[in-house]
C-alpha cells in the first residue's frame, strides 16, 4: 500500500469526496536522461545514445518530458492484476478518453494544426495519477506505460481515445537473439542476467526477490520472447513478475507476503464503502492439479560426438564443420582427431598438419574451423568430442486432488507444464498450494468499492471479518461512475512461517513452502 496522510484517508472515506486526477502524455517522447541506448530511428549519430547489446532498451518513465492533458480528460480506467492461479508475468492496461473540441489532438493528415499534430502516435509514454483534492490536490502514481495502439480520433464526436499497456509490453516485443544456458541458478539470478546483460537495464529499474527455485539447468532457445522466459520462470516459482505503479519491474516470490508488513491488515473495508459484491463463480475452481516435472541431470564427462563419415580438408586453407549433439552440452572437454591422405583412412597420417583454428560452442552444436598447413587436400577420418551434457530424465507426473471438492463440484483440472519446475518435492507442494487456494468456491470474490488509490496488488485487507489478499485492481474514474475500484480478492489464512532466530522448534510456526 502506498503511504498517505490522515487527511487523505479521511477524504477517501468521506461521503463527499473531491477527486483529483492527472494524465500526462509524452507525445514527443522527449527523453531527459543523459544517455539512452542507441535506437535506430530515434537516436542520432554523434548524439548521446549508447551502443549496447539491447537496441531500444526502455528508459525509466520519470525520464520523459510530459504534456499535462488533464484539462481535456473525460474519463480514465486502468487495471493491474496477478495471474491466477499459477502466477507468472502480468501486464497492466489502461484507457482514457479526452475532449478534442479544440482540435488539439487532430493529426495533420486529418486537418489538425495544433502543436501535437505530428505526434498523435502510439508508443508514447504516459502516466496516470489519482487522488483527492484536500485543499491541495494530492495524487498518487497509478499507472506508467505506453500508448499501445494508434490513438483513435473521433472527429464526429470530438473525442480522442487512448489505449495503453504498461512496460511489460516491452518484453513481448523483445526476442532472445542468442541461445542462453544456465546451470544451478536461482530464478532471480537468471532474471537479473537477462535484464542487465541481454536487455541492458540498470539495477534501479527492477527489484527482484531472491528466488526459491534453484533451476539445475535452463536453456532458452534463440528467438523466444523475453516475456515468455520471465513468465515461465515466475510461474515455476508460483511468483509474480509485473510492473508497479511507478514503472519499476518487480519479481515477487511465493513467500513475498509471508512476513511483516504483508501479514498485517493494511485496510479495513467497511460496508459503507462498498458499492457491490458479486457472487463468486466456479470459473476459478480447481480441485485436481497435475504437474509434469521436467527432471534434467548433469552427466559426467562422456563422448558426445563421433564422426560418421570422412570430411575433406581443403589444401592450405580453412574448412568449417558443424557438429550436432543429441543433448545440450555444458562444456566441451576434449577433441581428438585423425587426418589422413586418403578418405578411407589409409595413407600418410597428416594429423599434425591440421590445426583447430577456432571453435564456437552453442548448446547443441559446435562450429569448428580447421586450418590445413599443408598444400595437399586431406581427409578428416576421425573426430571424437568429449564433454559434459545435460540429459532429460523421463517426466515425473504428479497428481493431487481435493476429494471433498471433487465430490461437490466434479473434477476441475489444472495441468501445469513448466520446464523450470525440475524438482519433484516442489511439484508436490505447488499442486497442494493451488488446491488450498482454489478448491473452495468461496475463496475468491470481487467487490466494487469507492476507490482507495493507495491500495496495491498483494495488500491484505479485511472485509466482512475475513482476511483477503488483493489479486486484481480495476480502477474507473469518470463523472458518470465516480472514482471506483473493482477488487478481485483471494481469501487468505495468515500463517506464521518458521524464521531462524525467531521461531522455536516444536512451536506453531510452519515451514514455508
Amino acid at each position: 500500500m502506498q503511504t498517505v496522510t490522515n487527511a487523505f484517508t479521511a477524504e477517501e472515506s468521506s461521503s463527499v469526496r473531491h477527486i483529483a486526477e492527472s494524465l500526462l502524455v509524452s507525445w514527443k517522447r522527449d527523453y531527459l536522461g543523459a544517455n539512452r541506448t542507441f535506437t535506430i530511428g530515434v537516436s542520432t549519430i554523434g548524439g548521446t545514445g549508447v551502443i549496447g547489446a539491447n537496441p531500444g532498451a526502455i528508459g525509466s518513465p520519470g525520464n520523459y518530458r510530459y504534456f499535462d492533458e488533464t484539462s481535456h480528460l473525460l474519463n480514465l480506467a486502468w487495471e493491474r492484476g496477478f495471474n491466477i492461479p499459477t502466477g507468472g508475468v502480468t501486464k497492466g492496461m489502461a484507457e482514457a478518453r479526452l475532449d478534442n473540441n479544440s482540435g488539439r489532438f487532430t493529426p495533420r493528415y486529418m486537418g489538425g494544426n495544433s502543436e501535437l499534430y505530428t505526434a498523435i502516435l502510439p508508443e508514447r509514454p504516459f502516466l496516470i495519477n489519482a487522488g483527492f483534492d484536500i485543499g491541495a490536490k494530492v495524487m498518487l502514481p497509478q499507472f506508467a506505460g505506453l500508448i499501445s495502439e494508434q490513438p483513435l480520433v473521433d472527429q464526429g464526436n470530438r473525442i480522442l481515445s487512448l489505449k495503453g499497456e504498461d512496460y511489460i509490453r516491452f518484453f513481448e516485443n523483445k526476442f532472445l537473439d542468442h541461445e542462453a544456458m544456465f546451470t544451478s541458478q536461482m530464478t532471480d539470478n537468471i532474471m537479473e542476467t537477462l535484464l542487465t546483460g541481454t536487455l541492458g537495464m540498470s539495477t534501479a529499474q527492477f527489484e527482484l526477490d531472491a528466488g526459491i527455485n534453484k533451476i539445475p539447468f535452463a536453456i532458452f532457445e534463440k528467438g523466444i520472447k523475453m516475456s515468455q522466459i520471465f513468465h515461465q520462470l515466475a510461474e515455476a516459482e508460483n511468483g509474480h513478475f509485473y510492473q508497479d505503479e511507478l514503472g519499476k519491474f518487480r519479481f515477487e516470490n511465493r513467500q513475498h507476503w509471508n512476513s511483516s508488513p504483508y501479514t498485517s491488515v493494511r485496510k479495513v473495508i467497511y460496508t459503507a464503502e462498498v458499492l457491490n459484491q458479486s457472487t463468486p463463480t466456479t470459473d476459478h475452481l480447481i480441485n485436481v492439479v497435475e504437474v509434469n516435472v521436467k527432471q534434467r541431470t548433469k552427466q559426467p564427462e562422456e563422448s558426445v560426438f563421433s564422426l560418421a563419415q570422412a570430411v575433406r580438408i581443403n589444401a592450405s586453407g580453412n574448412t568449417e564443420l558443424f557438429v550436432s549433439y543429441d543433448n545440450p552440452v555444458l562444456q566441451v572437454t576434449s577433441l581428438n582427431l585423425t587426418v589422413n591422405a586418403s578418405e578411407d583412412g589409409s595413407g600418410t597420417d597428416y594429423t599434425t598438419s591440421v590445426q583447430i583454428k577456432n571453435r564456437d560452442d552453442f548448446a547443441q552444436t559446435s562450429k569448428i574451423t580447421f586450418y590445413n598447413t599443408s598444400s595437399l587436400t586431406l581427409w578428416l577420418t576421425s573426430l571424437e568430442i568429449r564433454g559434459r551434457t545435460v540429459k532429460t530424465a523421463p517426466d515425473v507426473y504428479i497428481r493431487k486432488q481435493d476429494d471433498s471438492s471433487v465430490t461437490a463440484y466434479n473434477e476441475r483440472t489444472l495441468t501445469i507444464d513448466n520446464p523450470y519446475i525440475q524438482n519433484q518435492d516442489w511439484g508436490q507442494s505447488y499442486a497442494q498450494m493451488i488446491l488450498d487456494d482454489f478448491s473452495s468456491i468461496e475463496n475468491l470474490q470481487s467487490i466494487t468499492i469507492l476507490a482507495k488509490p493507495e491500495l496495491q496488488l498483494g495488500d491484505l485487507i479485511s472485509w466482512q471479518g475475513r482476511y483477503w489478499r488483493i489479486f486484481d485492481i480495476k480502477s474507473t474514474l469518470s463523472p458518470e461512475y465516480g472514482f471506483v475500484q473493482e477488487l478481485t480478492l483471494l481469501q487468505r489464512t495468515i500463517r506464521t512461517y518458521f524464521r531462524i532466530g525467531i521461531s522455536t522448534i516444536g512451536g506453531t510456526d510452519k515451514i514455508a513452502p
Binding site: 468521506s14 461521503s15 463527499v16 469526496r17 473531491h18 477527486i19 479544440s102 460496508t271 459503507a272 464503502e273 462498498v274 458499492l275 457491490n276 459484491q277 469507492l450 469518470s478 463523472p479 458518470e480 461512475y481 465516480g482 472514482f483 471506483v484
Partner: protein, 116 residues
Amino acid sequence: MAYLLGGVAIKRPTSMNWTRTSQYAQNKTLDGSVTRDYFGDDKNIWVLQYRNVSNSDYSAILARYDDYIANGVRYFDSTGEAISIGTLVHVSVDTRSFNVGGTDYLGDFSLILTEA
C-alpha cells in the same frame, strides 16, 4: 450594470440568471448511504435575456458570438457594480423569437455565457 464581452460593451439585458454548476457522480453503498464524488471546479453559467430587441442590437450581440467562434473563449466582465465576474466564457445565442407585430422585427433571445 454594464457588461463587457471580449472587451466590448454589450447591450444591457432585460434580466440575467446566474447559475453555478458542479460535476459529480452519486453512488449508493451496500449499507444504503449515498456518497458523491466531485470532479473539477464548480463553473458559472450566465443567461442574459433580451426582450423586444431591435435588429441592429441583435446584430451587435451576434457579432460578439461570431468573435467567439473565430477566436475562442472570450473574457466576460461587469462594470460599475459590486458583482465580480471577470472570467473566460464560451458564448451561445439561443432562438430569436418575434412576439411583437409590426415592421421593426423586435425580438426576444438569450445570450448564454458558460465559464470555460
